[in-house]
């Protein structure tokens, strides 16, 4: 089952590159259904039998590529497959007006999925590097799809930032291999010490990954890239792509070398997260453009992911477990809510023909379903009950109390209020009766796909136990 998750997207990617006359769009949905089934089956298998390994082509590590599936990775695989299928349905309709772009969209889309699955499944540091690079290439290609001056500039900026980040990561890999003579994460976790080369390696890798995750103050490349891309692309980038480098960061800090990391360093990462929440929310509040508002909201929401480090390093076991669970839920809830938000905003912009927030006047009458999807996803982003976002913040708050770190309590609560502030800017305009522009009719499937993702973000609040039960099967992550 494990190799299928790489083979399916790669086969479809090659098909859509090599045989462009094939009805690429028509075969995309069956392929995605296959991928979803495969990841659900792997989840069920992991739930019943625990973590599993697979050596590609029977070549064992270190020369072969070892794949590893545990409770956390199957959750991410299923999340990826689900969001991909909804975004693909949206893209089928949305890209009809982009004749030239959609020829390139589908191959890049499949390569993006293949590299995401590769990252989730990879068990060694170097394959994670290769996965990160492939992810960057397909994501940059997708940002540059419309090939106008602004999107090319955003893509170049994104590419340079990402390349710098992955070189930092690779330099760390070089130092770790020089030190331990192995790249397998589980092996280094066993023999790792906290000597100077390990610390330098971790510092280099951390800075590189923070750059790729767009954590404040290294977030400068994200808003133009995510805000300027086509709607389904923005949804995929904000929901999944930035989470991949965060996943690697979490594996490094919590699994690879938990002893090499000082609580002070963890506090620094937490402070960056707090800075991201404040700065991202402030910028989102000031944006005149609705897509840029949602992009800056991503900068702010990524900040919450950083709280896992101060809350779980150098604290008690109960706080660490709560922090980890809250972070995983936040990752899932933000993925659903932010993709729903980008898709619904895409529909709104399509209907109005303008991107300014002041142009949104009248949408509550004319495009009510898209606005409703926007509202539902906003509920989860603000952390109002009942939603996945609420449960995530609740767990993080409890962890902050349990570890006695009241300062993070303030930022977690305050972040929700700041989110409300910039979201209500959108609502205050959209309920104005008089429209400034004529509205174009939009396809009903666009609304359905945005609503599906928004509903998933809300429903996560009721079924939070599912991912958390799977998560308890993760060996190695401190809980």
């Amino acid at each position: 089952m494990i190799p299928l998750l790489l083979i399916i997207p790669l086969v479809f990617a090659l098909l859509s590159v090599l045989l462009p006359r094939l009805p690429i769009k028509a075969i995309a949905i069956p392929g995605l259904v296959l991928q979803l089934i495969a990841s659900i089956q792997l989840s069920v298998h992991t739930y019943k039998h625990g973590a599993s390994d697979y050596a590609l082509g029977s070549w064992e590590a270190p020369l072969g590529i070892a794949l590893h599936a545990n409770g956390f990775t199957v959750t991410l695989l299923t999340l990826t497959a689900f969001i991909a299928i909804v975004c693909a349905v949206y893209a089928l309709i949305y890209l009809k007006r982009y004749e030239h772009e959609q020829r390139y969209f589908w191959p890049l889309f499949w390569f993006l999925l293949a590299s995401l699955n590769g990252i989730w499944l990879s068990g060694d540091l170097f394959n994670l590097y290769v996965g990160l690079e492939l992810l960057t290439f397909s994501a940059v290609g997708m940002v540059a799809l419309t090939a106008n001056k602004a999107s090319l500039q955003a893509a170049i900026r994104y590419l340079f930032a990402a390349l710098l980040g992955s070189l930092g990561y690779l330099a760390g890999v070089a130092l770790l291999y020089g030190q331990y003579g192995t790249l397998a994460i589980q092996e280094i976790a066993l023999i790792g010490t906290s000597d100077a080369p390990t610390q330098v390696a971790l510092a280099l890798m951390t800075v590189g990954l923070l750059m790729k995750t767009a954590i404040f103050p290294l977030h400068y490349w994200l808003p133009p890239a995510h805000g300027g891309a086509l709607a389904p692309v923005s949804a995929l980038l904000s929901a999944l792509v930035v989470k991949a480098s965060f996943y690697i960061l979490a594996v490094l800090w919590l699994q690879l070398a938990p002893d090499a990391i000082s609580p002070a360093a963890a506090q620094v990462l937490g402070a960056l997260g707090a800075g991201a929440i404040l700065w991202g929310s402030w910028c989102a509040f000031r944006q005149p453009d609705i897509k840029m508002l949602v992009a800056y909201s991503t900068v702010a929401q990524l900040g919450y992911l950083m709280f896992v480090f101060p809350l779980s390093i150098g604290t008690n076991a109960a706080a660490a477990e709560l922090a980890w669970q809250g972070t995983v839920l936040h990752l899932l809830a933000h993925a659903f809510a932010k993709s729903a938000m980008f898709l619904s905003v895409g529909t709104l912009v399509l209907a109005i023909g303008h991107q300014g927030i002041k142009d949104l006047a009248g949408v509550s009458h004319r495009v009510p379903l898209a606005l409703f999807a926007f509202g539902l996803s906003a509920v989860s982003l603000m952390g109002l009950p009942p939603s996945g976002g609420f449960n995530a913040k609740w767990l993080l708050l409890q962890s902050a109390l349990s570890s006695g770190q009241w300062w993070w309590f303030i930022f977690i609560l305050g972040g929700g209020l700041l989110t409300a502030a910039y979201i209500f800017r959108v609502f205050s305009v959209s309920f104005i009766e008089e429209a400034r522009h004529k509205f174009a009719p939009t396809h009903w499937l666009l609304d359905v796909s945005a609503l599906t993702l928004a509903a998933a973000a809300i429903l996560l609040g009721f079924v939070s136990q599912w991912p958390l039960t799977l998560m308890e099967l993760v060996p190695g992550v401190r809980s």
């Binding site: 960057t136 290439f137 001056k149 500039q153 003579g181």
Partner: protein
């Protein structure tokens, strides 16, 4: 003094030179505003990392095929990255952007 110098065998010098290249090119990458210069700096940084990767591993563990295989993969990735960047920069300049 001589003992101390003997510890610095050729492999170790590779790693040191790699580190120096990495730092110099990082400076150039951050300070230069021209896109092509940035791309060149990225390539030199990559070479620095590869030198560290092979040199350090051989210094610690003797001749080893794994880092060489890794560097080979790394070079392929760097070439692909350079090609992608060149295409994007060319398109950007054709649309009237500053190179």
């Amino acid at each position: 003094m001589t003992l101390w110098l003997e510890a610095f065998n050729t492999d170790f010098w590779y790693a040191i030179v790699g580190a120096v290249l990495l730092v110099l090119a990082l400076g150039a990458f951050i300070t230069s505003r021209q896109l092509i210069k940035k791309l060149l700096a990225f390539n030199i940084m990559g070479s620095g990392v590869f030198l560290i990767m092979v040199g350090l591993a051989q210094y610690q563990h003797g001749p080893d095929s794994v880092p060489q295989a890794l560097v080979l993969t790394g070079i392929v990735v760097a070439v692909a990255a350079t090609a992608l960047a060149l295409v994007l920069i060319r398109k950007f300049v054709l649309k009237g952007g500053q190179p």
